[in-house]
Amino acid sequence: MVIFQMLIFFPIVIGIILFLLPEALIKIKGIIALLVSGYGAWLAFNTFNSTSGLYHVQCTLAPQLSKYLQLNVDGLAKLIVLFIGLFGFLYALYSLAYIRKGKSVCGYFSWFLITLGSALGAALADHFLFFVFCWGLLGLTLYKLIKGDDDESASAAKKTLILIGGSDSVLILGIAFLYKMTGSWIMSGSSFTTSSALANAAFLCLLVAALTKAGAIPFHTWVPDYVKHAPASSSAFLPASLDKLLGIYLLARITMNFFRLTGWATLLLLIIGSLTIICAVMMALLQHNYKKLLGYHAVSQVGYMVTGLALGTPLGIAAGLFHMVNNALYKGGLFLTAGSIEKQTGIDDIDELGGLSRVMPLTFFAALVFAISISGIPPFNGFYSKWMIYRGIIDFGSGSGLANKLWIVWLALAVIGSALTLASFIKLISGIFLGRLRENLSKIREVGFAMWFPQLVLAAICIFFGLFAAKAVIPVLFNFGAMADNSNLAGLWESPQVSLLILVTILLGVIIYLMGNPKKHRISDSFIGGEKVQNELNFLPSDYYKTIAELKLFSFFYKWAEKKRFDIYHIGKSIVLACYSVGSKCHSGILSTYLVWVVAGMAIIILILV
């Protein structure tokens, strides 16, 4: 099959070749990257339409490699590949305008293409070694797609690679456990119940890798830091889209293929999912750097997917995967709009922005669609998948396990999380796009075609997926595995009809407005008890939810979070440094002490052996 070789290795090879071109030709590199990713998207679409099955990539250069390059093209992999291809193309187009010479990451387009190829490889791989190879490469490209030229971004890059690289080591351990049990490296092999100690250990190891990649609690802490400092196109590409797709892909493989979950595993996943939803969104409420705010939402949304997959029912799995797709669409889109705003204004603080809807209408429209989608407002796609998750949880409640009995808790947390998401996006939209346009921002212009086009395409897909989820989207995308012959996935929500009603209402409103002869109105200042309207009277958007932070119960947690006591990276760091300080006291540099060590060591060995 020629198509798969091209799909995976063509972008990687071109990416490596692009290293040879000098940085000055970045436009040409960008155009090549766009062409390659466009070709990749086309191949990905073809893959999606091809028949499922196992394929062997024949490697003519080194025939012995073919064994490792077995690909498993099933429904799940095809779904992931389709969206990786789509995002690759859109983000390459966006990067073409966004990435500028000299100011950005060195070798951006090379790493971009290598990322694309290895993500496709990871999604299709059926041999564990090839999978972990591609998976690990993604950690490396993530590290290379951020520019560590100041202290904070260097720290973010370091933290990211330590967490991601560390989780890759754990993944290797998990794979070693699986290999021990099956004696085979093939992923599409037998599955295990999580009951034996070895199976449990393997399950936990693989889970750590999946959750770290997707960015779920407690391994999420690299996401907010990374997106705050990385170029927006990098953030949209990896943490918001590809890492989510792949992390959830691995989680889906774990829950659907590798293991049959028993009670405790389901409970664990549900706890992780719910905590992720709530904790991350609580943190997001208080951010005033809009990229970091989006980063916390990128974490929070993972909670829904984990919850959906944890349910294990066809509805739950479909809901989790649909939410994964939707999230990649709107979260990637949100990062693109964030990048547009940052590029045009150079400001990344919500408090210093405002009123941009007048000067950047296209970006505003796209951001509004994404914000409504992510907040779960009908009839957009985010609502649909969340609604499926709620239904899934309610159905799940009829079971008999402990996790099933607690269904009301999971449901409540998911709904509250959704409400808080809406709250924080009100802040984002109103802070950036609404309100008065500041004078220093009045010269801002809309971004160019290459940047608004991807945003609008993503927005259009969000609307389409929301309107036609039941009719056209879910039957096409989720027709594999346990979901294949389940006609109940779509549920009772009739999105087109409801949307039509909403549209009619809006139209009526517009007609009434126009009938009222809008040209004949007078303009006057807002009346606020006789005071003059001043800029100082504006609320800063970052103060919207300050009261929450000041509540006794929460203020304690927020303080701890500020001190990074919940950050697994910092916990690990302090443990290791404590060990180090003990060790460094022993390494005193005094020769006689060292001689004592040698003698003592020898004495102990003699005592043990003789």
């Binding site: 720290s155 330590i162 060590w597 040698v598 043990i608």
Partner: protein, 506 residues
């Protein structure tokens, strides 16, 4: 063919004497001669690997065995020694080439090259010796040359480090010599192959094993005998640090231990267990100590202890399996992981020390807190250093990823679950301190404006580039065809250790 085996010792020894005599009169003579010598040795080692198989034995002086008793000095070349010889010559060649510009700062350049050549002679001699006394002699040649090289800068710090190294190294030699004396007193033979067929057992053998384990363990810097290494390896001139960490501790430490415990003594579960436990402890202690260091080279030195732990654990698991009659396939896999990591480590740790040398050469400091932002000023050093850091941390597509993966999978396959878990944790610690180094040295905002910045000369850059490419290319060693040429013979040599006696004596 066999007649060419002594060249591994003769060439570097002769070169050292020529350098001492002619180098005085001809400018740059020593530099060129050392590079030529190592080029020849690399060729020779490669030639032996590609064109010969099995165990080759050469009797110095051609003395025939008197009946059953070997009289001659044996030089033996098996799969393992071929591999180590190639590593010594190749890393040596690149370090020597790098030195040609690096040593301009020293007043006595010639002596540096003489000592370098002697160190090579010592290591090569140790690797091909077939009897324990010659191992000792060559060990001392290599060690004494390295004492002098550590002190080569003659600053206070270097002299102190060298002194500690000498005292502890001297202690190691003493313990080894004691063991040798003991051995001769009890059995009347020093030949490895001859000893291995003697029916000896009991506390005597155990005591002997302990002497050799501690003595060579000191040279290999296994916990708790590692204390000299951080000082010595960080104080030496950088190419020498690369040689010490990249090659010397492997040749005179690890190689000697495994040669002795595989070929000389009958495999015993207790010894194998002790070796594995010590390797695990080295892995942990080295990693934990490395993470707090601010001196680049000191950090790298601690990291060497930790990485040597991986090598020892890999081979140790194989030893345990062989001693207890476990699966030979898994044992072979595990030993392969260990030897693969040994080769990889010599490449990336050599490269990291050369990088550290380049940073020190360019900026005059190796304190991470005073550096930063060097990725823009020295892109080549930065990218090669990132390559090596990622390779040692086990990130694909570099070689370290595969060797760590194999060691972890082998440990799990052999039921050593906790060991595999520790290896993973230490691997996370490893990536942490290398990311710390990358952040403070190459990223971040610069802490100074680098007034005395010096550009890196071509030979130094070239050596680093070649090593970085090797980090990538050595990944190919996992492929069966390439593995069978380079590493499988070494693994077979360890697994079928009984053949050693049969071929050498028989």
């Amino acid at each position: 063919m066999n007649a060419m085996i002594p060249l591994f010792v003769i060439v570097p020894l002769a070169a050292a004497f020529f350098m001492a005599i002619l180098g005085r009169f001809i400018k740059n003579f020593s530099k060129i001669l050392l590079n030529l010598e190592l080029l020849f040795l690399s060729y020779l080692a490669l030639h032996f690997i590609l064109n010969t198989q099995g165990i080759l034995a050469y009797r110095v002086g051609g003395f025939e065995n008197a009946g059953d008793i070997p009289i001659a000095i044996y030089l033996v070349l098996d799969g393992l020694s071929r591999l180590i010889l190639l590593v010594i010559s190749l890393i040596g060649l690149l370090a020597a080439f790098y030195s040609t510009s690096y040593t301009r700062q020293f007043t006595q350049e010639r002596k540096y090259y003489i000592l370098f050549s002697l160190m090579i002679a010592g290591m090569n001699g140790l690797v091909i010796s077939g009897d324990i006394f010659n191992i000792f002699v060559f060990l001392e040649i290599a060690a004494i040359a390295s004492y002098a090289l550590v002190a080569f800068g003659i600053e206070k710090q270097q002299l102190e480090a060298s002194f500690k190294y000498q005292v502890l190294g001297g202690m190691a030699s003493l313990i080894i010599l004691l063991g040798i004396g003991f051995l001769y007193w009890q059995t009347g033979t020093l030949n490895i192959a001859d000893f291995s067929r003697l029916p000896v057992s009991g506390p005597f053998v155990k005591l002997l094993a302990i002497f050799f384990l501690v003595g060579f363990g000191l040279k290999a810097a296994i916990f708790p005998f590692h204390s000299w290494l951080p000082d010595a390896h960080s104080s030496a001139p950088s190419p020498i640090s690369a040689m010490l960490s990249g090659v010397l501790i492997k040749a005179i430490g690890i190689y000697a231990i495994f040669r002795i415990f595989f070929s000389m003594f009958a495999l015993s579960y207790e010894i194998a267990m002790v070796i594995t436990v010590l390797g695990t402890l080295s892995m942990i202690v080295g990693g934990l100590m490395a993470i707090g260091q601010w001196d680049i080279k000191r950090m790298l030195a601690f990291s060497s202890i930790s990485q040597m732990g991986y090598v020892i654990v890999g081979i140790g698991i194989g030893m345990i399996l062989l001693a207890t009659g476990g699966s030979k396939v898994i044992a072979g896999f595990s030993i392969f992981g260990g030897l693969f990591h040994l080769v990889n480590h010599s490449v990336f740790k050599g490269l990291l020390f050369l990088n550290a040398g380049a940073v020190e050469y360019a900026t005059g400091t190796r304190d991470m807190r005073q550096l930063g932002g060097l990725a823009e000023k020295m892109p080549l050093t930065a990218s090669t250093s990132l390559t090596a850091s990622l390779a040692i941390s086990g990130v694909p597509p570099f070689n370290g990823f595969f060797s760590k993966l194999i060691i972890i999978v082998a440990a799990v396959s052999a039921h050593f679950y906790w060991l595999a878990f520790i290896a993973v944790v230490v691997s996370i610690i490893t990536i942490s301190y290398f990311m710390k180094m990358q952040k403070y040295v190459f990223f971040n905002t610069p802490q100074t404006d680098y007034k005395n910045f010096r550009a890196i000369p071509l030979p130094m850059n070239l050596s680093m580039i070649i090593l970085a490419l090797l980090c990538l290319l050595l990944s190919l060693l996992v492929l069966p065809q390439i593995r069978d040429i380079f590493i499988t013979p070494a693994v077979d040599a360890l697994i079928n250790s009984l053949q050693y006696t049969a071929v050498v004596i028989g």
